[in-house]
């Protein structure tokens, strides 16, 4: 009964309680919220986080440049079937040719134009939809919250990839439908994260102070809440770009996304299955996926570490773990 008084301030009191809740519940990753939840093996980069983040950003920017400059860089038309078929790398072309006599190197470069912008679009849309739904649910609560959260439950009850496959198959195989399917499975993670963050900040002293000064709900959300939750949402988004690329190329690999002859990395890997001896057909687009995904993950992890108040205390106080 007489224990709860603390006369000394806790320096961490100021940090919103919300972000921790959201992140701690394993909501960071849409994939990880599938049925039997598996957590993305969190990279423990420690003091390498910042340099790796810079490295990742550099690789990411490089890939975006490749996508923009594809017509300039690519030596051949990605669709032209005018080269000797199944040529090994080095025998005239950098990465060899596929079964139809197309230049793998050029296709990998043009592939960046397909997958990266679509993944970015997917993430941006997920963030927008999820953040709006989550913010409304978290701030207004009651019925709105109940309905929104049951919808997210519904989506999250299924394994992400399988649900995306089912939706994509039902919509018909096309790249745009793959993006739509991916969007349907990925916005709930943002809704939940945003809701948790908003809920945590809603009762914070400065939001209440604003309300006592006559702030409308919109003003509270826009002035007091939004600026204080963009950090964690951005972290999730940056970590998700890699996942989005994986998901989109995965759907294409299964024939539910890009249709031939589009130069899309996932479908290129899938082409390679028919010509198993010609390893270069699958390995190079696979490496492209790998480098992009890892690059964006490094960026996301570095962002998370940079924005994590705990990691700052560790740096400030120098406590080694």
């Amino acid at each position: 009964m007489t224990d709860a008084r603390t006369t000394r301030p806790d320096p961490r009191d100021g940090a919103p309680a919300g972000p921790r809740d959201g992140v701690g519940a394993g909501m960071l990753d849409p994939v990880s919220t599938a049925g039997p939840r598996w957590r993305r093996p969190r990279l423990r980069l420690g003091r390498w986080s910042a340099p790796l983040g810079l490295f990742g950003a550099a690789v990411g920017v490089l890939w975006i440049l490749v996508a923009v400059l594809a017509p300039v860089i690519a030596p051949h038309d990605p669709l032209a079937q005018d080269l000797p078929i199944l040529q090994a790398p080095g025998e005239g072309t950098l990465m060899g040719t596929d079964a139809l006599g197309r230049d793998v190197f050029s296709r990998v470069i043009w592939g960046a134009r397909v997958t990266i912008p679509l993944a970015l679009l997917l993430v941006v849309m997920s963030v927008l939809i999820g953040a709006v739904v989550g913010a409304i649910a978290g701030f207004f609560g009651r019925a709105v919250d109940e309905v929104a959260m049951r919808v997210t439950d519904l989506v999250m009850a299924f394994p992400t990839v399988i649900l995306a496959m089912v939706i994509a198959a039902a919509l018909g195989a096309s790249l745009l439908n793959a993006v739509l399917a991916a969007l349907i499975v990925s916005w709930p993670a943002y809704a939940r994260l945003t809701r948790g963050l908003v809920l945590g900040l809603r009762s914070s002293n400065y939001v209440v102070s604003g309300q006592l000064l006559g702030f409308s709900p919109l003003r509270s959300l826009g002035r007091d809440i939004a600026p204080n939750i963009v950090g964690p949402v951005l972290v999730l988004a940056s970590l998700d770009i890699g996942t989005a690329i994986l998901l989109l190329s995965g759907l294409s690999f299964l024939g539910l996304g890009a249709k031939p002859p589009t130069a899309e990395w996932g479908s290129m890997v899938s082409d390679a299955i028919q010509n198993f001896d010609a390893w270069w057909i699958g390995v190079f687009p696979g490496l492209a996926i790998l480098t992009v995904v890892i690059a964006f993950n490094f960026v996301g992890d570095a962002l998370r570490d940079a924005l994590d108040p705990k990691s700052q205390t560790i740096r400030g106080g120098g406590t080694t773990l």
Binding site: M1, T2, D3, A4, R5, T7, R8, P9, P11, D13, G14, F139, F140, S204, N205, Y206, V208, S209, G210, Q211, L212, L213, G214, F215, S216, P217, R219, R223, D224, P227, N228
Partner: protein, 284 residues
């Protein structure tokens, strides 16, 4: 007294949870007049913070009425507060969470100014408020993290007062501050609110500070007010056994090495007694 009354609370009950509900505040009523400082004291868990939050409308009242200048104070909900209700402002215990970390302090004090203007009251300059709470007016463009706890609290006070409130509720506003600034900040709050003609409900467990700044005092124990009245009257001659124990337990910084009196366990039972003559005490 009723002429200058700005805040009137009657029979406030606050309960938490269900089956069985925990009654944090058990039927408390009081009045605060314009320009008056009323202190609410008591040990942790006695319900004083719950009472403060119920008065402002942050906490739901299970029963009871609160009126600000005669108008019923609603519970803070989704609807924005009317300009009349922005006439009640609050200062919180933790200065670190009282200010939005991502907005410049000038803008945040400006929110208070806008609330005053929306009510048709006189506007003011945020920089001028900084000066009045003893901070450099040029610091309006800074962010909260650039200030110490005591300074943040003074900024929060400036924001609340910029709204030209009729009533200021302060929930342990000094207990998170360093000892050397506690009394100064409390005294500052008193002088500014008296100057503005606002009533102030000042919640604290620091009885020596309360004695310096409060005109009247409410002593709370287990959700009930056990003694109330003019501060000096209560101090000079406490009637309720709880008030007596509380005052006797304050260590005096006189350097004489006198141990404060610790109440015996057996005495605590009497603290729950109702003592009508200990309420509403005046010097007359």
């Amino acid at each position: 007294m009723s002429a200058g009354t700005v805040l009137e609370a009657e029979g406030i009950v606050v309960e938490y949870g269900r089956r069985p509900p925990l009654r944090a505040v058990d039927g408390v009523g009081f009045r605060v007049a314009a320009g008056e400082v009323v202190a609410l004291v008591g040990e942790s868990g006695c319900g004083k913070s719950s009472l403060a939050r119920a008065v402002v409308g942050i906490e739901k009242r299970r029963a009871g009425d609160v009126r600000l200048n005669g108008a019923d104070v609603p519970t803070l909900g989704l609807r924005r507060r009317s300009p009349v209700m922005t006439g009640m402002q609050m200062v919180f215990q933790d200065p670190n969470s009282s200010l939005n970390p991502r907005r410049r302090i000038g803008e945040q004090i400006g929110d208070g100014v806008r609330a005053a203007l929306a009510r048709g009251d006189e506007g003011s300059d945020p920089a001028d408020w900084l000066r009045r709470v003893g901070l450099d007016p040029a610091m309006v463009t800074r962010f909260p993290h650039e200030f110490s706890g005591g300074q943040k609290q003074r900024i929060a006070i400036a924001r609340a007062l910029a709204a030209r409130p009729r009533m200021l509720v302060a929930d342990e506003p000094i207990s998170a501050l360093d000892a050397s600034t506690q009394t100064s900040v409390a005294a500052l709050m008193r002088s500014l609110s008296v100057e503005a003609g606002a009533g102030m409900l000042f919640i604290s467990h620091d009885l020596s500070v309360v004695r310096r700044i409060a005109d009247r005092v409410l002593v709370m124990y287990r959700g009930r007010v056990v003694e109330s009245g003019d501060t000096e009257t209560v101090w000079q001659n406490p009637l309720h056994p709880y008030t007596r124990a509380l005052l006797a337990a304050i260590p005096l910084p006189d350097g004489l090495g006198r141990l404060p009196l610790a109440p015996a366990e057996a005495d605590r039972a009497a603290w729950l007694d109702d003592l009508p003559e200990a309420l509403e005490r005046t010097s007359a």
